[in-house]
Symmetry: C2
Subunit: 500 residues, 2 copies
Amino acid sequence: MTAVRSEPIPPARPSQTAEPTPAVDLESVLDAAQRAAAPLAALRPAERARLLDAVAAALDAAAGELVPVAQAETHLPEGRLRGELKRTTFQLRLFGEFLRDGGYLDARIDHADAEWPMGAPRPDLRRVRVPLGPVVVFAASNFPFAFSVAGGDTASALAAGCPVLLKAHSGHLGLSRLTAEVVAAALAEAGAPEGTFALLVGTEAGAAALRDPRVAAGAFTGSIPGGRALFDIASSRPVPIPFYGELGSNNPVFVTEAAAAGRGAEIAAGFVGSFTLGAGQFCTKPGTLVVPARSGLVGELRRSALPPAAQLLNERIQAGYAGVLEGLAAHPRIEVLVQGPDPLADPPSPTLLLTTAADMLADPHALQAECFGPTAVVVTYDDESQLAPLAESFEGQLTATIHGTESCDVAGLVEVLSRKAGRVLWNQWPTGVSVTYAQQHGGPYPATTSVTSTSVGTAAIDRFLRPVAYQGFPQHLLPEALRDANPLGVPRLVDGAREE
Amino acid sequence: MTAVRSEPIPPARPSQTAEPTPAVDLESVLDAAQRAAAPLAALRPAERARLLDAVAAALDAAAGELVPVAQAETHLPEGRLRGELKRTTFQLRLFGEFLRDGGYLDARIDHADAEWPMGAPRPDLRRVRVPLGPVVVFAASNFPFAFSVAGGDTASALAAGCPVLLKAHSGHLGLSRLTAEVVAAALAEAGAPEGTFALLVGTEAGAAALRDPRVAAGAFTGSIPGGRALFDIASSRPVPIPFYGELGSNNPVFVTEAAAAGRGAEIAAGFVGSFTLGAGQFCTKPGTLVVPARSGLVGELRRSALPPAAQLLNERIQAGYAGVLEGLAAHPRIEVLVQGPDPLADPPSPTLLLTTAADMLADPHALQAECFGPTAVVVTYDDESQLAPLAESFEGQLTATIHGTESCDVAGLVEVLSRKAGRVLWNQWPTGVSVTYAQQHGGPYPATTSVTSTSVGTAAIDRFLRPVAYQGFPQHLLPEALRDANPLGVPRLVDGAREE
C-alpha cells in the first residue's frame, strides 16, 4: 500500500498524531491514488467485495486495540464503541454482498432496432456504471468508527471502485492512524492496488486534496460552515466535482393530540432517551418536539428524570455546545423547561427548553438552529392546524418524525415533511440509522449538499459511479457486465425490460 | 394554465417575440410553479404519462404550423425539422411508457428484522423517489424542438413530476412562444395543475428564476461560458441546487491503422458527412479525426467533396464560428487540409484542418477547443502507441469514437476513452443521439456539469428525483408504490431482492 510507504503510519503516540500531512507526502499520495484508479476499477465486483471483507475481518480482529484508543479520545462508552465497530464492519460486508449481486451497475442493453419509432434506427447501445476516480473523504467527529476512517463514505467509495484519501478528523487522530494502519494492511494483504487508500492529516491537506485535479469527488460529514466551505471549493474548481456533504439537521418531531393523550409518558421517555443518546451528539438527534399545549406531555417532560451529565467528544464541541445553548436560553421567546444541575459545565447536564408554535414561527432561524449536544426545544401548539405551517418553516432535514395514531388526519403533515426531509418516521425515534437497502440518510440543504443522494445504506454507492454507454461495440471489447452471455450474472434492463 | 394567464402567449409576431419577461410576471409564474409542485407530484405515474401523451399529440398536430416558423428562425431544412419534431414527440411518449412501468421510482422495502446482523434490529424502512420541485430549463439553439421548449429536459422534468419554467433561446423566440402555447394548452386540456409549465424570455429572467428559492433545479444545453455562469449561480445560492448543464465537447475519433487500410474511403466519407451534419452544429459533432500518417486517409480527405456552404443558426453563431476558425487556422501548428470556396463567409463553406499528434499534444487546449460549425481537425500519428496518450490529453467529452477492426489491440484506448467520455462508439459516428433506455448523453466536465447524469434517454428522469424513506409507517399513509399490496404494480427491491 502506498499509504504505508509514503506516509508510514506508526502506532498512535500523542506527540505524533497531530502532525499534518506534508505537501510532499500529499503529492505522492495523490499520485498513487491516481495510479490505483484504473486497476481498482478493473477488478470484478466480487474481487472488490473480497477486499471489503478483508478490511472488515481485520477491523473485527483489531477491536481490542482500537476500542480503548477510541474511548480515550472521544469519551464515548466502551459498549457504544464496540457496537459502532460492529456496525462498521457489517456495513463493509453488506457492500460486499451488494457488489456480488451486481444490481448497482445498472446494466442496460438496447439492441439495434431498425424500426425504433423515433424516426431513425436505434443502434446497439449498452450502458454500465463505472467509478468516478479518487475520492477525498472527510471523517466526522461523532462516530469514530461508523463515519470515520473505515465508515460509510469509505466503504461505499471503495465498493464503487474509487481510491480513498481519508482526511482524518482532528478529534480522534490516534484512532484514525491506528484504523488506517489496519485498513491499509488488510487491503495490501488482500492484493488491492497500491494507492487504494491513504490517510491525510490536517485541514490544509484535506482542502488541497479537494482542489487537486486528480481527485474526482468529495464526501463529508460535519458542520454546516465546514461542509459549505468544502462544497464551495469543490464547486468553484476549474473542473467542478461532486461534493457529498452531510451537514446539519434539527430533526423535528410532531406529536398529535391523540398520541399525547394516549401515550404521553411513553413519548416523553422516548424523547428524553433519544435527544440525550450519545450525549446528544447524533446528526439525527431530535432537536425539536412539538406537543399539544393542552396535554399532560409538557408536565411529563418537566418532571422527567434527565440522564446525568456526560462528557462531550472534545473541548471544541463542548465550547460550541455551551455557546449555542447560552444563546438559545437567552432568546426572549425561550424559557427553560427542565435541566440538570450543570447545564453549561464540562461535562454538561441535559437541558430542555420551551417555546410556543407562534413564537417559533416568529424566529424560526434562531429557534431551529442545530444544537450539537444534550439540548432540545419543546414547542407547544393550540390546534393541530398549526402543525403543517410549523413544519413548513423548517429548512431541509435529515429526518422528521410524527407520533400519532392511525386515526389522526396527518396526510397534509406527511406531505410537508416528505418535502422537507429525507427520512420520515412514524412512532419511532430518529436516532439510530439502520444500514439497509432502503435507508435514506440525506435531505434538502442544509441537511446535505446533494439532495439526490444518501450517505447511509447500499444506495450510498451511487454517489461514486457514473454511466458510460458503448455504441456498436464488439463483444470482446465490452465490459463483462454488458456482454450477451452475461458472464457476471448481473441483473440487466434489456430493451427496456428486466432480463429474466 | 398559469402560463397562459400570467403571460399570454400570442401567435409569434416579430415585434413581440423579443420582449423579456417582466419581473412582475416572473413573480407570478414562480408562485404558480410552486403551487403546482405538490398536486403535480401527487399524480399517479400513469396520470402524468397521460399529460405527456397529450403534449405529444398536440405538437404532432401542430407540425404544419410549427415547422415553417422553425425554418424561418433557424435556417434548418424542413426535412430535418420534421424529423426532429417526430423525435421530440416520441421522446415525450417514451417517458410516458417509462412512467407506466414504474421502475423509475426505485421503490425499496426493507421489512423490520430483529435479527439484522448490524447489531441492532432493523426497522421497517420503505424508500421511493419523489420530484425535486420547480425546474428552470434553459433551451438550446441548435435543436429548436428536441432540446428546446418541449425537448428532453422538459420531458424528463415533467415526467419526474416537476413544474417547468422554460427559458426560451433567443435564437428562435417565435417558435418558442408558439410551442409553449401548444404545450400549455395541451396540459390545461389534459387537466394538469395550473402552473405546471411557463415560458420565460430574456437572460435576466432566466438567471433570476435560477436564483429564486422556489426553484429546485436547473437544466441547460449550450456553451461552456454560458453553462458555467449558470452553474456558478446555482452552486453559490444560499441553498445550492443541482444544475444539469450540457456544455461543450470535441468528440474525437480515433482510426486504427487496420481500419484506415481496410476502409479508408468509407471512413473519409462517413467523417465528412458527420462533421458537416446540420452545418456542424451538433454537440456531438466529431471535431477531431486521428488517422495514421502512413495511410491514404489524409489523401482521401484532401480529395473529398465537402458539402456546399449552409447557413448557420443565427448571426451570433456565425460570428462565433468565424472567430474560432480564424484563430485555429492561424495557429502555427495547424494547416488547412481542404476547404470550400468561402470558409469565413456567411454562409460558410466547410473546412478541414490538419496537424500532427505531436503538435496537438504540444497545445491541446487550443487545438481541441470546440468549433461550433462545419470545421474539424485531422490529426496524423506515426504509431498506434501514440493514440492512448493523445486520448489522455482531451478534457471530458460527450462522446469518443474508435474506428478499428476486431483484431486491433485497442483495449488500452477503450480504457482511456471510457474515463474521458460518456458514450464510446465503435465504427459508427457520434452525431445522432438515439433516445433509448441505455443512452448516455453526458460526460466529465466540461461535457457536463454533472458527471453522474444524462440529458438524453430514459435515465434523464433521475436528475429530477430525490429519495425519501418512510420508517415504521402505517399502510394508509405510505405512498402507493410502497404499500404491501403494490397497487401500482411497480417493480421493487424487497429485503434486498427483486420482488417477483
